[in-house]
């Protein structure tokens, strides 16, 4: 017999974690949609978000900063400061790196983002060491929302569900009804034509990167909150996110949202039903097997644009 409350609890957990993944996944597909860059450093960007909250909340965890030199920022201020770091990082990445790779082959861009991933995680490790860094109690949402069958959904997951829904709707509205959104769409469909009509490609790229990194950083912060603090395990989110965006269709923001929910569900179901037979850690592997299946059966995903090739 199916144990209904247990199944329901697993599904709720899956949707919860999927919603947080959705934030990171939407960051990925947003940047791909507008600039055509496949960002393999997405997991590391989430990591940067997670660790910067820890750093702002307690700067003395940086090994060369003595205690008391830098001010400790309280709860919300640390979150806002991290989001500002995300915005700055977006501008910096565009100015310093991705500007040189406009129109370069996909191989170069993929390898550059992989290298960026190495740079981010190496630098964070240099700053704070490879250990888990607990968040201060003041930031952690320690409440939970009760649901039927005696289950409940934890604070970070509840925030994730609400926030990711808000973000996906906001992005859809933004792309469809605002002038900036139309400019981004124009730039993504044909860069040269858009430039000829007076669109500043550089500005669209900066907007896309800052939006993307901000959303991703928020996703990373929520992932860290769900664990009580920042850890390097967040890096592996990167590959799980790829599953979500491939399933949803690479350049579709709502597709990334749906895909992430499906991946979250798969992961939790795998953890609950399969892991005992196959061995620990299989929950993270199940989405990857699903990914191979999608690539062979439906490579352009649910809502992706199919490429028609001509010579």
């Amino acid at each position: 017999m199916v144990d209904v409350p247990a199944l329901f609890a697993t599904l709720v957990a899956g949707v919860g974690i999927g919603a947080i993944y959705a934030l990171v996944a939407m960051g990925f597909s947003l940047i791909y949609k507008v600039t055509g860059v496949l960002n393999f450093a997405q997991g590391q960007l989430a990591l940067v978000g997670a660790y910067f909250v820890a750093i702002f909340a307690a700067p003395s965890i940086i090994w060369f900063v003595p205690a008391g030199v830098l001010p400790t920022l309280g709860g919300v201020v640390a979150l806002v400061a991290t989001i500002l770091v995300g915005v700055l990082l977006g501008v910096l990445l565009e100015r310093a790196i991705f500007r040189f790779f406009i129109g370069e082959p996909v191989l170069s861009v993929i390898i550059v983002t992989l290298a960026l991933g190495g740079i981010f995680s190496g630098f964070i490790q240099f700053l704070v060491g490879p250990n888990f860094r607990a968040y201060p109690e003041a930031i952690l949402p320690n409440w939970s929302v009760p649901l039927p069958f005696g289950t409940e959904i934890g604070g970070p997951f509840a925030i994730g569900v609400v926030l990711s829904l808000v973000v996906v709707i906001a992005l859809m509205v933004f792309f469809r009804y605002t002038v900036t959104g139309s400019i981004l769409r124009a730039a993504s469909s044909d860069q040269q034509a858009a430039m000829a009509l007076g669109v500043s490609i550089e500005r669209t790229i900066i907007i896309a990167w800052t939006l993307s990194i901000t959303i991703t950083a928020i996703g990373g912060i929520l992932l860290a909150m769900a664990n009580g603090g920042a850890g390097f395990a967040i890096e592996t989110t990167g590959i799980i996110i790829l599953v979500a965006v491939v399933f949803g269709g690479l350049d579709s923001v709502p597709g990334a949202f749906l895909g992430a929910i499906v991946v979250g569900l798969l992961r939790e179901l795998g953890r609950f039903y399969v892991e005992d037979f196959v061995g620990a850690g299989f929950a993270e592997i199940l989405p990857l097997i699903f990914l191979l299946f999608i690539i062979v059966v439906k490579p352009y995903g649910l809502f992706g644009t199919e490429r028609i090739e001509r010579i």
Partner: protein
């Protein structure tokens, strides 16, 4: 007018060694690595053996990435498969060479299986499917429940093994050095010649423009799979050698960082060129070794900066000279040849 030696027939144009300078360099250069063990020893010898082993793996990557143009992000996984299979085969007493060949064949099989999506998609999708393989392999080799297949998460590889059955004992560091050197020379010669054969040329056609290649009657899918098989075999083989060199197996040797290192080596040297790959491996491996030593002595807290430095090298190389050091050297040579004119 530029002057110099000119080719008078096609045979000499396509020769492996085309200039007299190259032949002289071969005669004087080739004995050097064979004489090295009598001059240096210990850690440096190990470093050189490691360079030869990584050179095989990077040449394998060069076949897939440089010749056929498919992005493979599973160097760690292929090397791990080769290493663990070799270790398993050594347990049966078949000898080192058959063990490494079996390891290579298994890696080639897995490589082909994960290259199968190439029938419908290309580029980015192959990159993710092989990245997925990397994570699946890491999980698999860390999983105790799969020990009946891989034979245990951590293993020691015997230090005294026969090359074929129990003949030709490989027991000392110097033996392993010579084994690595000879294997590297064989694979380097094979890949040098390989790029001049019909298959090598069809790989390049697929790399340049797969649609045009298909129109010209090249079976694109079969060529891609063939590239995966050959490259996977070489990477798996080098994984087996690596297992013998370090004498101990742990999944942490075969992570995504290894993939990134091999990419730095290949891109730094020059993508698609055998000499570039060899040059890149040697330079980057020596740089890595010195960096590690430097950080360990002067700043133990900063060892995690190594991936940062590597990432920076990749980005700068791709932005400044995407064809690598070898192309830069070629430009230097042209400049000197034309000197004092600029054209």
């Amino acid at each position: 007018m530029p002057c110099g030696e000119y080719f008078t027939d096609y045979g000499s144009r396509m020769g492996l060694f085309r200039w007299r300078t190259q032949r002289i360099a071969l005669v004087f250069g080739l004995p050097i690595p064979f004489l090295l063990p009598f001059v240096i020893g210990g850690g440096t010898l190990n470093l050189f053996a490691q360079i030869y082993i990584f050179a095989i793996a990077v040449l394998g990557l060069n076949v897939i990435l440089g010749y056929a143009g498919e992005i493979v992000l599973a160097q760690g996984a292929f090397m791990a498969i080769g290493a663990y299979s070799t270790s398993r085969m050594l347990g049966t007493g078949a000898g080192l060479l058959p063990a490494m060949i079996v390891g290579g064949i298994i890696a080639a099989g897995v490589s082909v299986a994960f290259g199968l999506p190439a029938v419908r998609v290309k580029g980015f999708y192959i990159a993710i499917s092989t990245l997925a393989l990397q994570f699946i392999a890491e999980w698999f080799f860390l999983n105790d429940k799969a020990a009946f297949i891989h034979g245990g998460v951590q293993q020691t590889v015997p230090v005294d093994v026969g090359l074929l059955g129990s003949f030709i004992r490989i027991s000392s560091r110097t033996d392993i050095y010579f084994l690595a050197l000879i294997s590297m020379l064989v694979f380097a010669l094979l890949s040098l010649n390989f790029s001049r054969t019909g298959i090598g040329r069809s790989f390049r056609a697929v790399h340049e423009n797969d649609l045009a290649a298909a129109v010209l009657g090249i079976n694109v899918f079969r060529n891609k799979l063939l590239a995966f098989a050959i490259g996977g075999f070489m990477i798996g083989f080098s994984g087996g050698l690596y297992a013998v060199l370090i004498g101990f197996l742990d999944p942490s040797f075969f992570t995504i960082e290894l993939t990134l290192q091999h990419y730095v080596m290949l891109l730094f040297g020059g993508l698609g060129r055998v000499w570039g790959a060899l040059l890149g491996v040697a330079m980057v491996a020596i740089l890595l070794d010195n960096l590690q030593e430097f950080f360990n002595t002067y700043a133990p807290d900063a060892t995690s900066l190594i991936p940062v430095i590597f990432g920076a090298i990749i980005i700068v190389v791709l932005a400044v000279e995407p064809k690598g050091v070898l192309a830069a050297l070629g430009q230097l040579k042209e400049y000197l040849r034309k000197w004092p004119y600029a054209y």
